[in-house]
Symmetry: C2
């Protein structure tokens, strides 16, 4: 079901429920000339989590799938890697093992192998090649064709109302920037993500930046407001997330913000068309904190099964 | 001499020399529809150094003047500070002493006293109060009235041609973002500067970010291409600087860039109206490297005395 946006209905793949009404009402309130809550365009900053908010994060974050495919490619030229325990864990999809320990040593080892040592240009080419060839195991389609149609409509609707949309993701900024302009219409300079410092040198071939893991900044949880301040430098007025990794930036956007503000949580409830998984924290079995806090804060909870007519553009 | 921009002459405070002609020719070349070098607007990224390129850096960088005035304010409530040797050096304007040693311990001590421990909101208020009250020792005017009129015209001209102007400064991003939108029409999210990580907490009063010096990133010299990559994520096509601190980003912008590119150096030659100081490196007495390299690279050297009719708006 490809759904065309019209002036009469800018969010056609959203069912006509409380979530859609709340979005339309907020945008009208802050962009209608003469409204007491009118926001000058410079203040119209919207931030979006990426994994699980703009595209799926199952069966694993797509960047992890990229890293595993990169490992497979590396093993062909360096077979000894296949014997490394953390490489074996990664190839087996055992992300839990990579995340063991206080310093995520396994994950760092895999990142070092797949995300460092190359120039930023070489890394970009690798991501582009992966997107062109890899297919999602369940949907059988390129990963970058799996963005959520209702969220794409929301991005367009905000842009049409002079909002500047930013990605604020725990994913690596170099990974996301490769495709985000083509796929979401968001330019690279509007991506806040996990970063490490590159090193600069002028080679005979020209200037080169080489990727490292030095000064790694993980843009997740409490890191998201820190990243927003560092990269954007002002508080957003709209924040869309889906997990407790977005809890702090939802708070940062909406609590005691002198400007009108709006929080939204994409709640994954649709096992048939997508995945149903994010209601309870694994450790306690209780409702995740962001969802628990949503009614008090006035954050809109979008129930994917109830609220979305279509999930993907080709549904 | 306040000079009005007109359609016939978008750079009226520039004398009609080679520098002005080179700027106009480049912009026409990359923004005229049908030109073989036409740049889509998304690729129109221009970066500007701040100190010495958009406003003066004498008799000391303006942020250093802010730090010294902050120290004076702090001493009123904490008189013991007056006995600290590095505080005494700062108050005496002895910046050389603060920069001694491999790790700039003196400078770090002064930054810790004046740029950390407060919330980002408190820091912003302090910068605003300083700009409202402090006066430049030579010109007797508020620091933010001392931007270079010819560079302001260039910023406007580029903006009118759909360029996105970024500040890329060694100065602190939190210091610059306070006033840059009002003074240059550049929004905070288009400022790349020196940064350190804030810490996030949710207090009863709301979300708070506190300034620290942790993970300090100095956006100068080879740090500038690193900062550009980290914050912007693509190579600029225009780079304007004035010192060897901008040498690496001039190279990064213009050497083997697959897109057409333009480098410009503001050369401080006008002791009468501004300052004459940046021709030779202090240690060797030789021409600074960026100026030495300019002819080979095709970077336009702007001679302030020859090329600028006016320096400031009120000249």
């Amino acid at each position: 079901m490809a759904i065309a946006t019209t002036a009469a209905d800018p969010l056609p793949s959203w069912n006509d429920g409380a979530g859609k009404q709340a979005i339309l009402a907020f945008i009208a309130r802050v962009t209608t000339a003469g409204s007491p809550d009118f926001l000058p365009w410079a203040e119209r900053i919207a931030v979006f989590d990426n994994d699980g908010c703009l595209w799926p994060e199952n069966p694993m974050p797509f960047q992890a799938a990229f890293a595993i495919d990169e490992l497979k490619r590396r093993i062909l030229v360096e077979p000894a890697l296949a014997a490394v325990p953390m490489v074996q864990a990664a190839l087996a999809g055992d992300l839990g093992k990579l995340l063991e320990g206080d310093h995520f040593d396994g994950l760092m080892q895999i990142l070092a192998l797949t995300h460092t040592g190359m120039t930023t240009d070489e890394f970009r080419v690798a991501v582009e090649a992966w997107l062109a060839s890899a297919r999602h195991p369940r949907y059988g389609r390129p990963y970058d064709e799996l963005t959520y149609l209702p969220m794409q409509e929301l991005l367009s609707y905000l842009r049409a109302h002079d909002f500047k949309n930013f990605i604020v993701s725990g994913g690596g900024v170099d990974f996301i920037r490769v495709w985000v302009e083509r796929v979401y219409g968001i330019p690279p300079e509007q991506v806040v993500g996990s970063t490490a410092r590159t090193t600069y040198e002028l080679r005979d071939s020209g200037p080169v930046l080489t990727k490292t893991l030095d000064y790694l900044f993980v843009n997740d949880n409490a890191g998201k407001p820190v990243g927003i301040h560092q990269f954007i430098g002002r508080r957003p007025v709209i924040c869309c997330g889906n997990s407790d990794g977005d809890h702090a930036m939802l708070q940062y956007t909406t609590i005691n913000n002198p400007r009108p503000s709006f929080g939204l949580i994409v709640h994954h409830t649709d096992a048939e068309r997508e995945y149903a998984y994010d209601a309870n924290t694994k450790s306690t079995g209780k409702l995740v904190a962001a969802l628990r806090e949503a009614p008090t804060r006035g954050w809109v909870v979008v129930d994917m099964k109830q609220d979305w007519k279509a999930i993907f553009e080709t549904d």
